[in-house]
């Protein structure tokens, strides 16, 4: 079980860094989010993201960087289990619930609601 304070501080800090990039660079939000996903993946590959999760809990798992980490961990874990083909079969293993849920909810909310503006 994680602590609320570290979740708040680390989650807030990650968002703060992103906001600096939004406001001080010509990068679009899409570009910044891609940078964070890739960064999360690289840190995950170096074994540096899991300690952050241990320390900050949801402060590290909710930001989009965690998505990158999860994709990398899935690929690496499956590769360790079944060889190089595991990089292809395992990538979505840990992120499956997030992507599936997004599609399902997107579809059903579109059925029931309209954009308002």
């Amino acid at each position: 079980m994680g602590s609320y304070l570290t979740a708040f501080l680390v989650g807030g800090a990650i968002c703060l860094v992103a906001q600096l990039l939004f406001d001080l660079t010509p990068l679009t939000p899409a570009h910044v989010l891609v940078i964070f996903v890739v960064a999360g993946g690289v840190l995950g590959g170096l074994g540096l993201y899991d300690p952050l999760i241990k320390f900050a809990g949801a402060g590290a798992t909710l930001p989009i960087s965690s998505f990158g980490n999860a994709l990398v961990k899935g690929a690496m874990a499956e590769a360790a289990r079944s060889g190089p083909i595991g990089i292809l079969t395992g990538t979505f293993e840990l992120t499956s619930s997030g992507i599936t849920a997004s599609i399902i909810f997107g579809f059903f909310f579109a059925l029931l609601f309209n954009p308002k503006g």
Binding site: F22, D23, P26, P29, P115, K116, G117
Partner: protein, 330 residues
């Protein structure tokens, strides 16, 4: 018959008369300073239609029918219909033309369409090819957002230099004779590109075009800003307007007194989130709604448009812009 003066200016021989006009708008515009002047204010952005594109078309047709009524004309005596809007393939205009059954000349000037339409209408009428031409333009916040930027419910954070697309439509009936404001001169703009790449900073992208057209107009006609009660640009917003004032000063024109921007006039200070309003309807609603009801003797309306597309922007191109000026006498 019209003649050309200087590099880019058309002088009408028999000044075409705007014998009828109409403005309709969405709820936000209705609550703004121009609200009292609109013929119709819609209570919401869907306007009882199945899509926002259909709602925009509904506004355009409503404006046209009201303008026809005020001009004592009917759909069957429109000689030509000149219209443009922001949507791909100008579907608001094309589908409205289908409904009207009138001979149609579609135009694209982005947010400069209001003046561009009047220029064509004026020349058609002055040439003797038409007795009465209808012009129309429209824009809708939700149709523009989904085409140029993001889905409406997307949580984007817009910077303080961005603008809000106006929801509204306007139509004019331009005729060879009658009572009403008269088109006196028109300066056709050239496309200008001074290297602005940010589609959220329209003011900076379009200011050079507005400035260039205004300077050319003054040089072609030998006039000064003081010859007009008011000079307005279409939708430069606060930042674009300040840039134009500075550019004019460097060119030897003083625009500090009688120059305003429709993008700043369409919304009140409380409504103004960022730099002001934009969209084809912006210049039209403010000009026909507010400015035509102010006892001016002569005004210069300079509608400004950005000629980029989401594709050109994604491919790294700059934002070219254009501005057309029309001198209107009362």
């Amino acid at each position: 018959m019209a003649t050309k003066k200087g590099k880019q200016t058309i002088v009408f021989a028999v000044k075409p008369v705007i014998i009828g006009y109409s403005t309709v708008a969405g709820p936000k515009e209705g609550q703004g300073p121009v609200g009292p002047y609109f013929d119709k204010i819609y209570p919401d952005l869907a306007m009882g239609q199945k899509s926002f594109e259909k709602a925009e078309r509904q506004m355009m047709l409503n404006a046209i029918d009201t303008a026809l009524e005020k001009a004592s004309l009917s759909r069957s005596n429109i000689d030509y219909f000149v219209a443009g809007d922001l949507l791909n393939q100008i579907i608001s205009s094309g589908f409205s033309a289908l409904e009207l059954g009138a001979p149609f000349l579609g135009i694209y000037g982005a947010c400069s369409s209001f003046c561009e339409g009047l220029i064509f209408a004026g020349v058609l009428v002055d040439s003797g090819a038409a007795q009465a031409v209808i012009t129309a333009t429209s824009s809708h916040n939700n149709t523009a957002e989904r085409q140029y930027r993001y889905p409406i419910e997307y949580g984007a954070q817009l910077p303080p230099w961005s603008q809000h697309t106006v929801t509204g439509a306007a139509a004019t009936a331009v005729a060879v004779r009658g009572l009403g404001p008269r088109l006196e001169l028109a300066t056709v703009g050239k496309v200008m590109d001074l290297g602005i790449k940010d589609p959220l900073n329209m003011g900076a992208a379009m200011a050079p075009a507005a400035a260039d057209t205004i300077f050319t107009h003054m040089e072609d006609t030998g006039r000064n800003p003081g010859d007009y009660d008011l000079i307005v640009t279409g939708d430069l917003g606060k930042i674009g307007r300040e840039i134009v004032v500075e550019l004019a000063q460097r060119q030897g024109f003083d625009l500090s007194g009688n120059y305003r921007d429709c993008g700043e006039l369409i919304y009140s200070k409380e409504q103004l989130e960022n730099a002001g309003g934009s969209g084809c309807a912006c210049s039209a609603l403010v000009t026909l709604g507010m400015l035509f009801n102010q006892n001016y003797k002569r005004i210069l309306v300079v509608a400004t448009g950005a000629l980029h597309s989401p594709t050109s922007y994604q491919q790294g191109e700059n934002i070219p812009a254009i501005a057309h000026a029309i001198s209107i006498e009362f």
